[in-house]
């Protein structure tokens, strides 16, 4: 890791008002929702109201969109790489900066939510669900950060956000097309033709890959409850992180960087 790149990434974020507003909203929105629920439903006071680990992905999205592509657009990447620094170290530093920042924000959000719950109902202090939730947030933040770094290395400016949205949209449209095949196969309980069975299997595989790519998580709470998903989910997580970072390094290494966009 390169400390200067990490600090620079966080400083760039600080100078962007839109991102700061989005970050504030993302921290306050769950709190507002839980406050409303506590005021409305009496029994909710006894529950540890903490948001889902998924919010870590949103924090990573706010921190990580355009993290490399904006530097390419402004030409600052050329200045950075003029120093004795490899592309791989640059990419890894960016990944760490985004993942760490997103983890920190989501953990801060979690602690505030848990603290409010504990103040209102002290027995919740012994509830350890939030520890698993916190671990999942950290894992998810670093996983999503790697995916964002990959997208960011492909384009310039904020086009990576468009790429992410486009991929998700294409996946949803594809699933809608394949749905009739899947439903008929499910209704027949595996009694379809070989072609149908192959299509079902293929769709499941693609769907799983899609889910793993966009939601790189290790379900800590489920594993602690006895789930057998630890091996598969760990491999999937490692795969997403290493493949995304490798591809980002590979693509960036093959680009010529000018000192500014014409």
């Amino acid at each position: 890791m390169n400390r200067a790149i990490c600090v620079n990434t966080w400083r760039q974020f600080k100078s962007n008002n839109v991102r700061l507003i989005l970050l504030t909203l993302l921290i306050l929105a769950p709190l507002a929702h839980f406050t409303w629920r506590r005021c409305t439903y009496e029994y909710d006071l006894m529950e540890d109201m903490i948001s889902y680990p998924f919010v870590a992905s949103l924090f990573a999205l706010i921190w990580g969109v355009g993290v490399i592509s904006c530097e390419r657009q402004h030409g600052t990447i050329s200045l950075v790489l003029a120093r004795p620094l490899t592309v791989s170290r640059y990419v890894l530093s960016k990944w760490f900066a985004v993942g760490f920042a997103a983890s920190l924000c989501s953990l801060q959000c979690l602690f505030v939510e848990h603290a409010v719950s504990v103040i209102l109902y002290p027995p919740l202090l012994s509830n350890l669900d939030f520890v698993a939730n916190g671990l999942e947030r950290v894992i998810l933040a670093f996983g999503t950060a790697s995916m964002l770094i990959f997208y960011s290395s492909l384009v310039t400016g904020l086009k990576d956000l468009a790429l992410i949205v486009g991929t998700l949209f294409a996946g949803m449209v594809g699933m809608q097309f394949l749905r009739p095949i899947l439903i008929s196969e499910v209704c027949m309980r595996g009694a379809g033709t070989a072609g149908q069975q192959f299509m079902t299997h293929l769709t499941n595989v693609v769907g799983s890959g899609f889910a793993v790519f966009f939601f790189p998580n290790i379900p800590v709470s489920e594993i602690l409850n006895g789930s057998s998903a630890i091996f598969t989910s760990t491999i999937n997580f490692v795969c997403v992180v290493t493949v995304c970072l490798s591809l980002a390094i590979f693509f960036l290494s093959r680009k010529e960087f000018s000192y500014g966009q014409d």
Partner: protein, 361 residues
């Protein structure tokens, strides 16, 4: 001039590429073959998992022991990589209350499953007929109970719904003979879609484990349910001695109606629930006839020696059967096969024309 380790901006991280390539291939393989991932997780975690101190028997050994000790068999079907199987084995069955209760009241048999689809052959020679007995049509880990007297019975017969009412687990006023089975309370998440028809015909089983209390409750029910007598419903049964009463007495009172039922088995259980628990039908039977119940024991034929002649006398081969005695011409009227509330009411109403006690039109 001092040399630096720096070898250029475009130096490639080969180790990262290697890890990425390997993990991608492994992840792709796991994505294509999910069973492999689950199996390898199970195998790798085996040394670290707790093993319940239960005295497992082989199936052959358990069957012969059950006949001697008259204890029910408890099959623990554990699929490799199934979350429920993990939790059941390493958490639920490892609780001292649970394994003591199991060792004391059951004859436990472990059925480890690693190959899909499950067949008798894949389980081994000693499991002949097992998949049919527990209806293992699709992947499902669970605990299955087979009472000692129903060792040879099919899963359909073992799922004796009638006992539930006696146990207080089902509301007798609102009984659905198709839906209420002993195991249904424990089949969470399986009561919809294509599996509905299977749910009611499965032997007492546990397919979800939530906590120790839940498991203990199941084991208590599993130990108790088959020892209770099947329900006799709302009908006021007369003593069987009236079957031998004299003709002169018969003319004075209501005609006799003979019910031949089995003490176990789906058909008889269905009849008990659908007909004998019907208030309307019970009122008709009680007001117009003198009902007599004779129970057979299809899985313990030695107990039926004294009453076997009744079947031959009235030409009954399958149970349940209802026989209207005391007709005008002296020939009893028999209803066999699929008997339910409506058909029995029709049978009684149509049979009244033939009854010796009815006045001439």
């Amino acid at each position: 001039m001092a040399r630096t380790k720096y070898k250029g901006t475009r130096k490639q991280p080969l180790l990262l590429y290697l890890v990425a390539g390997c993990s991608f291939m492994l992840a792709s393989f796991l994505c294509v073959d999910k069973e492999f991932g689950l199996n390898i997780t199970y195998d790798l975690s085996s040394p670290f998992r707790k093993q319940p101190p239960i005295k497992w028997r082989s199936r052959t050994q358990a069957i012969s022991e059950a006949k001697l000790t008259r204890k029910p068999l408890l099959y623990a079907v554990l699929y490799k990589g199934d979350e429920f199987a993990y939790r059941l084995e390493s958490d639920g069955l490892c609780q001292p209350e649970i394994y003591n209760y199991v060792n004391e009241n059951f004859i436990p048999v472990k059925v480890p499953v690693s190959v899909q689809p499950v067949t008798d052959e894949s389980l081994g020679k000693e499991f002949k007929g097992f998949t049919h007995q527990v209806n293992m049509d699709y992947q499902q880990s669970g605990l299955y109970v087979v009472p000692y007297r129903l060792l040879d019975a099919s899963g359909r017969d073992i799922a004796s719904t009638a006992n539930l009412i006696e146990l207080g687990a089902t509301d007798p006023e609102n009984v659905n003979p198709y839906g209420d089975s002993y195991g249904q309370r424990f089949e969470m998440g399986r009561s919809s879609g294509a599996f509905d028809s299977l749910g009611a015909h499965k032997p007492p089983l546990l397919v979800r484990y939530r906590d120790k209390e839940d498991l203990l409750e199941y084991l208590y029910l599993a130990k108790t349910w088959h020892t209770l007598k099947p329900t006799r419903g709302l009908v006021k049964w007369q003593p069987s001695s009236i079957l031998n009463e004299k003709t002169s007495v018969r003319a004075q009172v209501k005609p006799r109606m003979l019910f031949l039922l089995a003490d176990a088995g789906y058909d008889s259980d269905y009849f008990r629930l659908s007909s004998l628990h019907s208030k309307k039908l019970a009122a008709i039977i009680n007001s117009k006839t003198r009902p007599v119940l004779v129970e057979y024991h299809p899985y313990e034929p030695a107990l039926d020696k004294d009453i076997e002649y009744l079947k031959k006398q009235y030409g009954v081969n399958t149970l349940p059967a209802v026989i209207l005695l005391d007709t005008k011409d002296g020939k009893p009227v028999v209803q066999r096969g699929n008997i339910y509330e409506g058909s029995l009411i029709d049978f009684i109403e149509s049979g009244r024309n033939k009854l010796a006690t009815d006045s001439e039109p």
